[in-house]
């Protein structure tokens, strides 16, 4: 079991490593389309649904952490309650993120889970803040690699568009 300092340092190291250089997990899944955990294989060997559902489950861990840190400011929440909410809120989506190939973030989730009950309120805030910074980097690279240009084939439409289309239908 890592100490609070060791784990925070390890997360910060990963933040530094993925700030301007690609996060390896995101590179694998979103640039190379590798299905590391088997996601998408049963559904026609495609990776798009893994991107669509896997990326946000991991990405929204930033918001789960944000909420937990805000609630930690409120002394009426005991550490026990904060730890329970943390486990209710981000362990499962982080685990799904791992299945989608984003291994490192779930490794951190498991390490955080191990020491969660030993943390002081301040350590809880510091550790989740560092973890949130790493997930934010994962988000950066996900949005960097997502093929947004495909959207040019699915452009916003309005009444005028469909009126013109209708006129061409008969």
């Amino acid at each position: 079991m890592k100490t609070f300092q060791q784990l925070k340092a390890e997360i910060e190291e990963q933040v530094a490593a993925s700030t301007v250089k690609p996060d390896q997990d995101v590179l694998d899944v979103f640039k190379y389309s590798i299905s590391k955990g088997g996601a998408g294989y049963p559904q026609d060997n495609q990776i798009f649904t893994t991107w669509f559902y896997g990326a946000p489950d991991c990405g929204y861990v930033t918001d789960w952490c944000y909420f937990l840190v805000e609630l930690a400011r409120d002394e009426s929440y005991s550490m026990e309650e904060l730890c329970k909410m943390a486990r209710f809120w981000f362990v499962q989506p982080s685990h799904f993120g791992e299945y989608c190939g984003l291994y490192k973030q779930y490794y951190f989730t498991k390490e955080i889970d191990k020491i969660l009950d030993t943390l002081t309120r301040e350590e809880f805030v510091q550790l989740l803040s560092a973890f949130r910074a790493y997930i934010a980097n994962v988000n950066v690279w996900v949005f960097q690699y997502m093929p947004w240009g495909v959207g040019y084939a699915f452009m916003r439409k309005d009444g005028k568009y469909f009126e013109e289309a209708l006129s061409l239908c008969n």
């Binding site: 495609q46 959207g151 916003r156």
Partner: protein, 173 residues
């Protein structure tokens, strides 16, 4: 704000959405209709990806967790309110901006109601109605997204990756 009337409206909307695909989903995911403000550059892939996610988190994930925590940890009314007002606004804004107007409207009015209600069981009744509706939105989105797009993004197997590596010298750059 009459919470019973709102609950009835949400339940009727949810009941309808068991049978037929909700209007938000047909408008945004099927017909790609959106107002000027929705979708940077007019592209719908952003609203699809972020809009579907925001509406999935807005009700299925956040309301689900508030209901679950209320039951499991005996969350008092003021903490239900605190968590709603903390967790919902950001996702609500993105869902609304992405064209999920009914989802955003019903959620906004539920928040306004809960901020005035005192009886926890009644709050849970209202949140339950919203959770059923949000689950319907989640189900129909899962159905209506144009998954045919997936065919353009195939997973290379280990063997194919090795094959590509062997041919890499053939690549122009």
């Amino acid at each position: 704000m009459d919470w019973k009337a709102l609950k009835k409206e949400i339940e009727e909307t949810a009941e309808r959405s068991v049978e037929i695909c909700p209007e938000d989903i047909m408008r945004v995911f099927e017909y790609e209709i959106a107002p000027e403000r929705c979708g940077t550059g007019g592209l719908m892939l952003g609203p699809w990806f972020e809009g579907a996610t925001a509406s999935r988190y807005l009700i299925p994930y956040y309301i689900y967790n508030i209901i679950k925590l209320t039951k499991d940890s005996d969350l008092p009314v003021e903490k239900i309110r605190q968590q709603m007002n903390l967790m919902l606004p950001k996702a609500l804004g993105t869902a609304d901006l992405s064209g999920m107007w009914t989802v955003a409207d019903l959620t906004r009015r539920t928040m306004a109601c809960v901020n005035e209600m005192e009886n926890r069981d009644e709050i849970l009744e209202l949140l339950n109605a919203l959770y059923l509706y949000g689950s319907s939105i989640n189900a129909w989105q899962n159905y209506r997204v144009k998954w045919g797009l997936s065919a353009a993004f195939m997973i290379p197997t280990r063997k194919e990756l090795v094959g590509m590596a062997e041919r890499s010298s053939e690549s122009y750059i």
